[in-house]
């Protein structure tokens, strides 16, 4: 009696036979496709590039928005010689306030100098005579709706020089971002349909050219999946190659833009840092491209073989 150990290689052999068959047939299909392959791959590439870029941009915009501050934040700048500590308890009594952070002018000055890229604090302070800044308060409102009225109330207090909140600016930016997303979503949808159509056409041409083979295959007992899986794999190949190329393009453009920002003065450089993706986003982006590319490839090739397979 053969031990179970000897059965594993047999099964492995069968799997490897099937895999090598599928691979060979897929390659044969690709060779047959000729320049049509490139038509399919380049449409997929353009689609995935656009998908990747708009996804990345929306991530970057929200990254920058986060850097600019929360929508719930009100910044209060006090008159000179007014201490932030005194205001803290007074403002804390407003019902819409959720938290208060006091930023003494010394700290603000240091932050500013750091932002400007100067480390010589003493020297800079001496140059100006003294710290030109004032104490400030960062107030978090409980809701975005409450921000404008809260700002107005605080502005009426004595000793308050100026109240700022980003609500308006943010609204515009967010709207811009949303508009951009919608437009690119529309274009992506159109390109997806185009890519599917091109893949379908490419593969259908090959299926039709091999119609005779396929008929004989059916007559000698090849199963439907055995016959059509190579075509599906071909579609997936289009998706994968397109994903790879577009991913490369996206990385290169991103690095190019970041390099351009790195040459700029420091506050623009800081903005450039806002464009940086988180490690998670960096990892997920290629996965999304590969996934979306494969799905488009599968749908395109399924359309190509559907009518034939059901015969």
């Amino acid at each position: 009696m053969p031990s179970p150990r000897f059965q594993v290689p047999e099964r492995l052999k069968l799997v490897s036979t099937k895999l090598s068959y599928l691979l060979q047939e897929t390659l044969r299909g690709l060779r047959r496709g000729g320049w049509m392959n490139w038509a399919a791959i380049s449409t997929v590439t353009v689609l995935l590039f656009l998908l990747g870029v708009s996804l990345q941009t929306s991530w970057q915009v929200s990254g920058v928005l986060n850097r600019l501050g929360s929508r719930f934040e009100v910044a209060v700048y006090l008159q000179p010689e007014t201490s932030g500590q005194e205001f803290q308890s007074q403002i804390a009594q407003f019902p819409d306030v959720s938290s208060i952070e006091v930023i003494p002018k010394e700290q603000a000055w240091q932050d500013l100098l750091a932002d400007l890229g100067t480390t010589d604090i003493v020297g800079a302070t001496e140059g100006l005579g003294e710290n030109p800044l004032v104490d400030a308060l960062k107030i978090q409102a409980k809701s975005a709706v409450a921000v404008p009225s809260l700002a107005r109330q605080i502005a009426r207090l004595r000793g308050v020089e100026n109240v700022q909140y980003l609500d308006e600016a943010l609204k515009h930016l967010t709207q811009l971002n949303r508009g951009f997303s919608q437009i690119s979503l529309g274009i992506i949808a159109l390109l997806t349909l185009t890519a599917i159509a091109v893949i379908t056409t490419t593969i259908r041409l090959i299926v039709v050219a091999r119609n005779q083979e396929i008929e004989v295959m059916k007559l000698v007992g090849a199963t439907t999946s055995w016959i059509y899986l190579p075509f599906i794999l071909q579609g997936i190949t289009f998706g994968l190659v397109g994903a790879l190329i577009s991913w490369g393009l996206i990385v290169v453009t991103r690095q190019f833009i970041q390099a351009a920002f790195a040459q700029q003065p420091s506050f623009l450089r800081a903005l450039g840092e806002g464009l940086q993706l988180t490690p998670w986003q960096t990892m997920v982006l290629p996965l999304i491209l590969v996934g979306f590319g494969s799905i488009v490839g599968i749908i395109g090739s399924l359309f190509a073989v559907r009518r034939f397979a059901s015969k």
């Binding site: 052999k13 069968l14 036979t17 099937k18 090598s20 068959y21 005779q212 083979e213 008929e215 004989v216 295959m217 059916k218 007559l219 000698v220 007992g221 090849a222 199963t223 439907t224 055995w226 016959i227």
Partner: protein
């Protein structure tokens, strides 16, 4: 082979029995476009039988074959192969049944872009047989039909008879239980026809059921086998002894 005839005679009374390799019961097939019809066909073949099917051109010989290998469906009645109703099979189950059959197509259906070896190996590849096993089976099969020297030729480089033998090689390489040969000697001269017939007889002696369609009466007379005659849509079986 007279026992074959007795069984064929008794076909109408024979109940549907899974023991038989091929069984057609009250089969009707109509092509509305050409108004062609096969009417009430009854036929029973047991494992190891040898049968000629004859009839004029357009009598329905190829159609009968197609009904057996499931390329056409009966409008009425049933076709059973190895106990399964072919007309009801679909998808993978039909594919698996066809692996047990070998078919020599009247029009060969060889792929022009492939060599003889590739055309023959294709059957096994289509069924997922490992490469080594394909290699092992290819040579003996080609030798059996006398094509070992033509293994790397393309169909266009073969004579009609060689193409015919290539299609026979393809039909038998999968070790079928049932061989359906549609005019396997159609394009051959007397010598080659006899040669092919010898091959089919040899396969039959190995236990394979063989059905041959032909309109070559000379060929029929060289083998003592029953003949099923198609005429006006009906099938009539003539026992081996009465074949003139």
């Amino acid at each position: 082979m007279s026992s074959t005839f007795q069984r064929l005679q008794a076909q109408v009374e024979t109940p549907v029995n899974d023991h038989y390799t091929v069984q057609l019961r009250s089969v009707c097939k109509v092509y509305p476009q050409t108004r062609f019809s096969l009417l009430d066909i009854n036929l029973t073949l047991r494992q190891g039988d040898f049968l000629f099917v004859t009839g004029a051109s357009g009598a329905g010989k190829t159609t009968l074959m197609k009904l057996i290998y499931g390329a056409e469906r009966a409008d009425r009645g049933e076709v059973r192969v190895a106990g399964t109703n072919v007309g009801l099979l679909k998808g993978n189950r039909l594919s698996h049944l066809r692996r047990k059959l070998g078919v020599v197509f009247q029009d060969y259906k060889l792929i022009p872009r492939w060599t003889v070896s590739e055309n023959v190996a294709f059957v096994l590849r289509s069924q997922g047989v490992p490469k080594a096993e394909i290699e092992r089976r290819l040579q003996p099969t080609l030798k059996l039909v006398g094509l070992q020297k033509r293994a790397d030729c393309f169909p266009s480089q073969l004579s009609g008879g060689e193409q015919q033998r290539a299609s026979i090689a393809r039909a038998i390489v999968g070790s079928p239980k049932l061989l359906l040969a549609d005019e396997p000697t159609g394009n051959l001269d007397q010598d080659n026809a006899l040669q092919v017939l010898e091959i089919l007889k040899k396969l039959n002696s190995l236990g394979i059921t063989v059905v041959i369609t032909t309109h070559d009466m000379g060929l029929i007379q060289t083998v003592k086998a029953p003949v099923a005659q198609l005429d006006s849509g009906r099938l009539q079986v003539v026992p081996a002894e009465q074949v003139l």
